[in-house]
């Protein structure tokens, strides 16, 4: 439901949007107020960048002021020192910031959040040092004055109000773009990374690329804000772009609500206004003005504890309480799911050759060979700690094998990343369900449908249709618009399976799919598996429920201590004395857990 605005809300927004920029025109306001508007508008653009990277993608950026500064210094140096046209200077500054964002992102984003926080602070500090110390170019602490402004169609924007109007129009265009982003392919990928990075990677999202793009977009927006800021104030100095400013951007984002551009704008206006309001405090509270940064700090903690979704989140929740939106979906016209399997050759679809996975001295998987034949259901069973889940993790690419090969449809995929394997038709579910909790069921499944090489037509419509068909297949189409967090456990399992099916898997990996289901749900699940098999899908599954495994499998492989101890048809394997011994436990069994 991310991107639907009701008509009344739209009207209110439109009125505010049109009325706000008119204030400086209608009322005889001082230059000071115009400047405050200018500040709010340009800051808000930088905060939109924070919305993309922090709100949508869940990655921290503590250097937004540095990117803001790159844009500003681009314009300042270009127009003052270089004597270049405003727009070309702007493009140079924004380009530099985007490249810096890409470079920072590429080096850091594969390492996780703490590193990113640290590296962005370091980048911010180095940027600050350079601004102050590289006097020949940056003019040092004195800053740069006499920054030019652009002209549009021969019209000089020398007048502050005219220039402000230009900035406002840019802001609106960018708010729209950032608002639209979540419902695009890229936006869904970003949000899936935020919600569950591992699951996103496994269902086919190129998570590193998504994060790097988000980070670069954030830098780009920051630089646009900074460039317009430089033009607006005609003078900049390093003080405008230090760490404290980055914290201001962060606070504005969190206060307004990181997950919405509207939240970001609200937060910015409040942050820009705050020092003003503090001036009007009664004498006894006047000291707060001197400690307003301390107030920010305290505010950040309080927002994290009490108002995690910010003011916009508060508004949204209030609205959700007042207006009961319909969450059942019309399912007429949903087409049946096509699951045709496009195998390249004959021979087994999945072949594990002497597969090994060691963790230090622990041989979790110690040289197993398994062939999974096309169109069959193949179960992998074994006592706890026998290496089942590890094997599945190696097949889906979460782990690289220590030795041996994973061959999919004749291709060695041992060294491929999870999303690359998903792009070749490997789909999987997780033992502890890993959905994108704050996305709707439909959006979850659309992320599954947008894997690379999914043989469906291009475009959002096709993704949506494919996702609806997959939801229909598991009987969840009428709940398509429910946020999955609010679904019962059994339904979440079904959505997770739909997410995989939407991606047209050649090979379906199920990690204890029946765990936590009640008896009725298990029966339904067995039916679902049989239907999938009927469609010719190849399924490789792990489960503990022997009754279920016996009912659905064509073939069973039994592991113990990371080695294969039996393989064959269900009836024969489950009567194998070694298997019974492994399960009931014999001497030495106590060491098996790990």
């Amino acid at each position: 439901m991310q991107n639907r605005i009701s008509l009344p809300a739209l009207i209110v927004l439109a009125i505010i949007a049109i009325a706000l920029p008119l204030i400086p025109y209608q009322l005889q306001v001082s230059t000071y107020v115009v400047q405050m508007f200018m500040q709010a508008v340009t800051y808000a653009i930088a905060v939109l960048g924070m919305v993309v990277v922090l709100g949508y993608t869940g990655q921290i950026n503590l250097a937004q002021a540095a990117f803001f500064g790159l844009g500003a210094y681009g314009v300042a140096l270009g127009t003052v020192s270089g004597g270049i046209n405003f727009w070309i200077s702007l493009a140079l500054g924004v380009g530099a910031a985007t490249v810096a964002g890409l470079a920072l992102g590429l080096t850091t984003l594969r390492l996780g959040g703490h590193y990113l926080a640290m590296i962005t602070i370091s980048f911010q500090q180095i940027f600050d040092l350079i601004l102050v110390n590289w006097v020949e170019v940056t003019h040092g602490p004195d800053g740069i004055a006499g920054i030019g402004r652009p002209s549009i169609l021969g019209l000089e924007l020398a007048d502050d109000k005219a220039y402000l109007l230009l900035c406002t129009i840019v802001l609106y265009a960018l708010v729209f773009a950032v608002w639209y982003l979540p419902s695009t392919r890229l936006g869904r990928a970003m949000r899936s990374v935020r919600e569950n990075e591992l699951a996103a990677e496994v269902v086919g999202v190129h998570t590193l690329r998504t994060k790097v793009i988000a980070f670069a977009l954030s830098a780009l927006l920051g630089a646009i804000g900074g460039a317009l800021y430089a033009g607006g104030f005609a003078y900049i100095s390093p003080d405008n772009f230090n760490f404290a400013r980055s914290i201001e951007f962060l606070t504005a984002t969190l206060l307004g609500g990181a997950q919405s551009p509207f939240g970001g704008v609200i937060g910015t206006v409040l942050i820009v206004q705050l020092p003003e309001w503090l001036k009007h405090l009664p004498e006894s509270l006047r000291f707060i003005k001197d400690v307003y940064l301390a107030v920010y700090g305290l505010g950040v903690i309080l927002i994290m504890v009490f108002l995690y979704e910010g003011i916009w989140g508060l508004i949204k929740n209030l609205r959700a309480k007042l207006v009961k939106t319909q969450v059942t979906t019309d399912v007429s016209g949903v087409r049946p799911l096509v699951l045709d399997v496009q195998g390249a050759g004959n021979g087994p679809l999945l072949r594990l050759e002497n597969l090994q996975k060691h963790f230090g001295g622990l041989k979790a998987v110690d040289g197993i060979d398994i062939d999974v034949q096309r169109g069959t259901v193949h179960a992998l069973i074994g006592p706890n700690g026998s290496g089942k889940t590890t094997s599945l993790n190696v097949v889906s690419g979460i782990y690289r094998p220590t030795g041996g090969k994973v061959v999919l449809d004749g291709e060695d995929v041992s060294m491929l990343k999870p999303h690359q394997r998903a792009g070749r038709g490997v789909g999987r579910t997780f033992q502890n369900i890993r959905l994108f909790a704050s996305l709707s069921a439909l959006e979850n499944v659309m992320v599954g449908a947008q894997r690379d090489n999914n043989p469906i037509p291009k475009g959002d419509k096709a993704l949506r249709d494919r996702a609806m068909s997959a939801l229909q297949f598991v009987g969840m189409a009428d709940r398509a618009h429910v946020i999955v967090r609010n679904l019962p456990y059994g339904h979440q399992r079904l959505v997770e399976i739909a997410r995989v099916l939407a991606g047209h898997p050649k090979l379906l990996l199920l990690d204890e799919p029946a765990a936590g289901l009640n008896q009725t749900e298990k029966m339904e699940f067995v039916e679902l598996l049989k239907r999938l098999r009927g469609h010719g899908l190849t399924i490789f599954l792990i489960d503990h429920d022997m009754g279920l495994v016996e009912k659905v499998s064509d073939r069973i492989t039994v592991l113990n201590f990371g080695r294969k101890i039996a393989e064959g048809a269900p009836a024969e394997v489950l009567r194998n004395p070694d298997v019974i011994a492994a399960y009931l436990g014999t001497a030495g069994e106590t060491n098996a857990a790990a």
Binding site: H114, S122, L129, L293, A294, V300, M304, I398
Partner: protein, 294 residues
């Protein structure tokens, strides 16, 4: 010969500064291991320790050792407050809200102290009443000697505390597996509170030690913390040994580069070293390869 003594001199200074980074980095690592979160206010623990010492010693005129103990007690109390005010309400959330919350705490602390104590950096007396000794042409400042000795003692103490006492074992159990520790009857929340206290006191000691050299100032914490954090990455994220080696290494790199390359960018070298490590050896000196758990 002059080249050698000059560099030995720099090496000595670098090790002294590096010891401070190492102490703060040690505090970082203890909290990372206990809570999985980087505490961005770690440097401000040092800043607060420094100001507490200034207040008790210079302001109230207490004897040095009484003031020192007073400052450490104040830091212990502060550790409790920090734990319950900043970490505890968010303990069930992912790392990002907690990280942001500690960042908020850092800004809050710095600006509150700024308001109370003013922007002027405060001098602090050295522990020992002599300037230092000259050894083979190298001047050993007494405060640097104190810092080095204190760091060695604290690292040794920390090792004994965590490896040889029951409380230390419980703290380790908590950091390795909270659920299991809880099942075994270890009061996990209390263990985490103790970690914060220990870490706050360590930071406070670092602040008191470095105060006479760098002056006690509002910003001293954040710059030390950034370098200490760089040290934890260079040493190996979450690795105790790595934090100490990384801290010392950074101190030396920084001093050498400032001497031989350029002084105004002194603070940038640590970050440059960090970038190089992240590019070529992201797991750090002692760390294992960074990878995600399934």
């Amino acid at each position: 010969m002059q080249f050698v003594t000059e560099n030995l001199q720099i090496l000595f200074t670098g090790l002294g500064l590096g010891s401070i980074y190492a102490l703060v980095a040690l505090g970082f690592v203890l909290i990372i291991r206990a809570t999985n979160v980087v505490n961005f206010a770690q440097g401000d623990f040092a800043m607060l320790g420094g100001y507490a010492m200034v207040l008790f010693f210079t302001g109230l005129g207490w004897p040095y050792w009484i003031a020192f103990i007073g400052a450490l007690l104040a830091m212990a109390v502060f550790g409790v407050l920090f734990n319950y005010g900043v970490y505890y309400p968010l303990r069930h959330r992912s790392f990002l809200p907690v990280l942001i919350s500690t960042l908020g705490a850092s800004i809050f602390l710095q600006n509150t102290v700024l308001y109370v104590a003013g922007p002027q950096p405060k001098p602090l007396d050295k522990l020992l009443n002599f300037d230092g000794i000259t050894l083979g042409g190298v001047f050993l400042d007494s405060q640097y000697i104190v810092i080095l000795v204190a760091t060695v003692a604290l690292v040794f103490f920390t090792f004994l505390f965590f490896e040889k006492t029951l409380l230390g074992k419980k703290l380790q159990a908590t950091s390795q597996d909270k659920d299991m520790a809880r099942l075994l009857g270890i009061p996990v929340a209390l263990m985490i509170a103790i970690t914060f206290i220990y870490s706050a006191v360590l930071g406070g000691i670092a602040g008191v030690l470095v105060g006479p050299i760098l002056f006690v100032s509002i910003g001293m914490g954040s710059i030390i913390a950034l370098k200490a954090f760089a040290a934890t990455i260079i040493g190996g994220f979450g690795d105790v040994k790595g934090a100490i080696v990384g801290g010392l290494l950074l101190g030396v790199i920084e001093s050498l580069a400032a001497q031989h390359i350029s002084v105004p960018y002194k603070d940038a070298y640590a970050f440059l070293a960090l970038f190089l490590f992240l590019l070529f050896r992201p797991q750090g000196i002692f760390g294992e390869k960074v990878s995600e758990k399934a």
